[in-house]
Amino acid sequence: MDKMPKWADVALIPFLNLTLAFAISMAVIAAIGQDPFEAVKLMVTGALGSSYGWGYTLYYATNFIFTGLAVSIAFQAALFNIGGEGQAVLGGLGVALVCLYIPFPHWTVAILFAMLGGALFGALWAAIPAYLQAKRGSHVVITTIMFNFIAASLLNYVLVNLLRPKGSMDPASARFPETTNLPTFHDLLSPFGIAFSKSAPVNVSFIVAVVACIVVYLLLFRSRIGYEIRSFGQSQSASVYAGISPVKITMIAMLLSGGLAGMMSINNTMGESERLILNSVEGAGFIGIAVALMGRNHPFGVFLAALLFGFLYQGGGELALWLSIPRELVLVIQGLVILFTGALDNMIRMPVERAFIRAAKRAEARDAKQKEA
């Protein structure tokens, strides 16, 4: 045996990576003079202890599911899309235009069109870097970073000069019409007599996000194009030899990725703020990177990782509120998670793999000896 068992690869290594990342995070909390165990307790009660906490946790998780899936699809094709942030910003613009300028009779219709609008704008924003990568070989990492900055400037311009209602000082669009407002979990669950916090922003988009996980799973692992994307990501030369067009796969993977990132905006823009604001994405596009890495680019893994980050985000907010630990603690944890699950993966993997192989060899030797005897 020269490999470790699958369960170790899928579960043990990520678990060890995460443990290390969280251990260091706890050490950081201790280093700034706070009690790490107290902090964890506060985070758990703040994020999971009430339907209000759950409402926020799931709301954040919804964002991260979309952006995590976006990064994962690109990763499966061996493309690193750092542009989720910019694509989500543009997606917000798409959602806002749909909500502001098309009169909808009911939210059920509105959400379908808003999803299309958000996905279209997000995909368009990913299309240029994708085209440049596919046709001209410009590195998609650099171009998507640049497009994040360009998106921020563009949105700023559009909000200040075009969408801002007359007389308003706020760089934000007008409120969306009432018929586009999405029902929250409170609205959805109260007819069944289930009490859910009224002020928590989690809404029907969460269900859309869960469906998106399933669709992406089917697409990646049960469809022809998904197979092509994955084989392209494993080995470009082999897939070209098999007749897969690199230009086509690069474009499709990036457009899907941008579309998913853009679709995130049905949650934050349509579901929560109900108008387009300047900093609505709040770094969710970047958290998608951590979520995708942690979830091993698998939709189910992304779902779990997004829940964890939703918890961290809401818990981190509680820490800022009750202890004097700034919200930026979440950024530190996020950085450590990306570092240990992404970049320093081999630090854990190499010794664990060696240990497994050694154990297997020893077992073999023992078997051989028993046979002799």
Binding site: V28, I32, R136, V141, I142, I145, F286, I289, L293, G335
Partner: protein
Amino acid sequence: MDFLTIIQILDSALRMATPLLLACLAGLISERSGIFDIGLEGKILVSAFFSAAVASLTGSVWLGLLAGVTVSVVFSLVHGMASITFRGNQLISGVALNFLASGLTVLVGETWFGLGGRTPTLEGAERFNPITLPFADALRDVPILGPIYSTLLSGHTLLVYVALLLVPTVWYVLYRTRFGLRMRAVGENPAAVDTAGISVIRLRYTAMVIAGVLCGLAGIYLATGLSSGFGKEMSAGRGFIALAALIFAKWKPVPALGATLLFGLLQAIAIRYPKIDLGFITLPSQFMEALPYILTVIILAGFIGKAIPPKAGGQPYVKER
């Protein structure tokens, strides 16, 4: 626009270009040795914070400089550990370090100073102060050359001159020394370097340390020269603009000076003229902000010459057994 205004804008351009230049040279050293570095942004940020914080606590900008350089080198070495020793994805490592920097600076800043992530304002010996070049005041009234010398060239802080001197230094090291030759080779064909009996790993780690020092200087200049103190997220994308300049300059030191001066000029113009009226169209300030990024994409697209990165960049070196 009169002559003096032009001089003032150029003067401001030089200030804005300095952190870009230092970070760009850091990226150049790193990428020429085969390690992609999108963590420049984070390194600028941590060194800016720790230099300002230590300068404020000790009252000495030199101790601040030491702290800033140290922490930037530590970040660089973590990046090296991930990319060289553990053969991880260099882009992912860079992204991680950027987040870590954003978080740690505010976390530590809030704990030490309680000013919402800022450091106290630096004064006197806590920051680098402008240096007046000899005769600058006497020559001020000489037409044309006077303002160029006394306004544009004189009156900057030490690190501006250091950054300018580093351009020929890096050029010399890269193209005229054995170390530079080896470093360029290790970024193109590490296997050949290895065959010649030179340690790829040691060369790349050395490059990481140099890049850490240079990038540290960029952050230190930002917090203790250009401004007087650290503010949350004060690097404001400069690491990425430096990366853009590096591509613009095709990974060469002298063009790097040109590219960073150009981007510095764009920033200086955007500060002075938020809106630019070209007669037929008014360019909004947001366009000026986005211009360096738009230019980079155009360059990357290969419409103005082709930017070809070092061949072995981004790939961990695995010695054959």
